[in-house]
């Protein structure tokens, strides 16, 4: 404590994104440090449930100077395998990581930044926020109206069904997390009611290939943020309903309904211990089916135009999502036997330690493709559609980090030597 160390760049977070940036800065001769509150790949180690596997196949985790070398390119990593892959990367690139170092404050300091940690302070010219988009579970305010005696948890606390009380479970949210938890909890003998809002349906495999193979080969994942019309909307679109399993099954609402999960509309309100569901379930499912079919149409068009129709299976479509004609609109939690509510309603980043005027009224970092607005020499990585559709994938970190490292190099070259402050300087 008490010492202030000078360095060109500080990277906050030693996940895949922070490490990819570390590698890109090393290649460009920029001295830097990676500050990590826990161990390398901390979130993957400590904040994910037991059965979770990566939603992208092994071959797709390509980082600068590092890739999958095993004999199961189409498999999906377990969490211990993800941790060992990322830890292996940190070692392979000899990343200068300071583990067990929590950043407690970052503020402007002349033409640079002061990074305060529980193990000393750093003074840097440039800054990279690589703490990810999934730090704090989003739980709607109406959770306060849940009657006492009903357990509530978020995906960060959830490990496996055995930790839940016997009895009914209401899972709120039907993106990748919600549908995976709904399935395994229901199969554990705890009947699940699933509240379904806007969701994005996708088959695990299509025409014999992984959905991610199509996304990668057709160039969808490379679409850039500045080529998308409504970027604000696009950045808020939920994740694909996917699961990574050995038999590459498609997990969708039809599958959940077939094993007895009760599908209900979006959770709209809780009144006197009764949950009220929106009457919009039919339309939410229709929207997801239509969107999925547009995506599959685009794959078919690409396959045809690329002349690879013969290399893949024939086109097919999934059955439309089946919904009861009149799904119940309310559920009395106590009378209905609900013992636990799982809020799978998304995450948000944690910037509580960031003392820079760079957040908008909804608490989001304002940036242009990862170049933070209003704080010269500061960058952010790993947010949805940061620079490309693949920005939140392990596979997307390298390209984004490379672009931003180039930007940083230009900035460092043009940066005034002294005087003024970062908010007064426009990045190159």
């Amino acid at each position: 404590m008490g010492t202030v160390r000078d360095i060109t760049a500080v990277i906050v977070g030693a996940g895949h994104a922070g490490l990819a940036m570390s590698r890109c800065l090393s290649e460009r001769g920029v001295d830097h440090v990676v500050l990590e509150r826990g161990e390398v790949a901390n979130t993957w180690r400590n904040e994910r449930w037991d059965s979770l596997r990566l939603l992208t196949p092994n071959w797709q985790s390509r980082l600068p100077g590092y890739r999958y070398e095993g004999d199961d390119p189409d498999g999906y990593r377990t969490m211990p395998e993800v941790v060992s892959f990322i830890a292996g990367y940190a070692e392979a690139i000899a990343a200068p990581v300071e583990t067990r170092t929590s950043v407690t404050a970052i503020r402007a300091d002349g033409y640079g930044y002061r990074v305060v940690t529980d193990r000393g302070e750093w003074r840097s010219k440039a800054l990279v926020l690589a703490t990810g988009a999934f730090n704090i579970p989003l739980v709607p305010k109406i959770a306060e109206a849940v009657p006492a005696g009903i357990d509530m948890l978020t995906p960060i606390d959830y490990r496996n069904p055995e930790q839940l009380a016997d009895g009914g479970v209401l899972v709120v949210g039907a993106s990748a997390t919600g549908i995976q938890l709904a399935e395994e909890i229901h199969r554990s003998g705890r009947p699940v009611t699933l509240s379904v809002g806007e969701h994005v349906r996708a088959p695990r495999t299509y025409r014999g290939r992984d959905i991610q193979w199509w996304m990668d080969r057709t160039g969808v994942l490379d679409e850039r943020y500045d080529q998308i019309d409504d970027i604000v909307r696009a950045r808020g679109v939920p994740s694909f309903q996917l699961v990574g399993t050995a038999d590459r099954t498609t997990l969708d609402l039809n599958m959940l309904r077939s094993i007895g999960v009760a599908l209900r509309g979006r959770l709209a309100e809780i009144r006197d211990g009764t949950v009220l569901f929106s009457g919009s379930l039919h339309n939410k499912c229709a929207l997801a089916d239509l969107k999925m079919n547009r995506l599959l149409d685009s794959f078919d068009g690409w396959a045809n135009a690329s002349g690879i129709d013969a290399e893949v299976d024939r086109p097919h479509r999934l059955a439309p999502t089946a919904v009861d004609e009149s799904p119940p609109l309310s559920l009395d939690l106590v009378k209905g036997g609900i013992r636990t509510i799982v809020w799978a309603t998304g995450y948000r980043p944690d910037y509580s330690w960031l003392d820079l005027p760079v957040l908008d009224r909804k608490g989001r970092v304002v940036h242009d493709g990862g170049v933070i607005t209003g704080a010269a020499g500061a960058y952010v990585l790993g947010l949805p559609l940061l620079r490309r559709r693949k920005s939140t994938l392990i596979d997307g970190a390298g390209a984004d980090a490379g672009d931003l490292a180039d930007h940083m190099l230009l900035y460092l070259g043009n940066r005034p030597a002294s005087g003024g402050n970062v908010q007064g300087v426009l990045a190159a």
């Binding site: 604000v232 509309g265 309100e269 009220l276 009457g279 919009s280 929207l287 239509l290």
Partner: protein, 186 residues
């Protein structure tokens, strides 16, 4: 999704809509609107409502026309049938909201509409409003809307228009989600 080069002529000013969306995104306080109506009892179950001004874009807004609506009940209810029932006004509200939305979204997507017709039905068990059975709700048990649309688009593009219109519809939201209602007496 993109604005088509060959703009469809559905009588919707797409440029103005896109401009308003952008402007209100940057000035969220101007997006706060208050809509209002007044309703006067006439006789029996017959009432007369008018719609005139509203608040929006930071100030009171007036329009050139005052709109009039009569509501009553049919003769089989021993009423005089001077207007549509209030629940039929609700059906009109939903159908017109969805239909206006379809035209706006079609124009944004460059889809030329030739005809759009909605048929809307709401089922109701009168044992609710008559207080015969407290297990029966007063309102609709369910609402069905059926669209017949002729447009320069594929069947899936048309389905997608109708789905997107529901997603963005105020009345669809009002009907499918709970709303707090406060009624006071002066």
């Amino acid at each position: 999704m993109h604005i088509s080069e060959n703009t469809a002529n559905n009588g919707v000013n797409v440029e103005a809509l896109v401009g308003a969306r952008e402007a209100l995104g940057q000035a969220p306080e101007a997006a706060e609107f208050t809509w209002r109506a007044t309703c006067t009892w006439v006789n029996g179950t017959h009432s007369h409502s008018t719609v005139e001004g509203f608040f929006g874009l930071g100030q009171e807004q007036s329009r050139k026309t005052t709109f009039h609506f009569d509501a009553d009940h049919p003769e089989i209810f021993a009423s005089e049938d001077k207007g549509a029932t209030p629940v039929e006004h609700v059906l009109v509200g939903l159908a017109s909201c969805l239909t206006g939305g379809i035209a706006s979204i079609a124009s944004y997507r460059g889809i030329q509409l030739r005809s759009v017709q909605a048929t809307i039905e709401g089922d109701m068990d009168l044992q609710g409003i008559l207080g015969i059975d407290s297990d029966v709700r007063n309102g609709f048990r369910g609402i069905r809307v059926r669209y017949a649309i002729d447009a320069d688009a594929t069947p899936d593009e048309i389905r997608s228009l109708v789905a997107q219109s529901q997603k963005r519809s105020a009345v669809f939201d009002i009907i499918t989600n709970p709303t707090n209602v406060s009624v006071v007496v002066d």
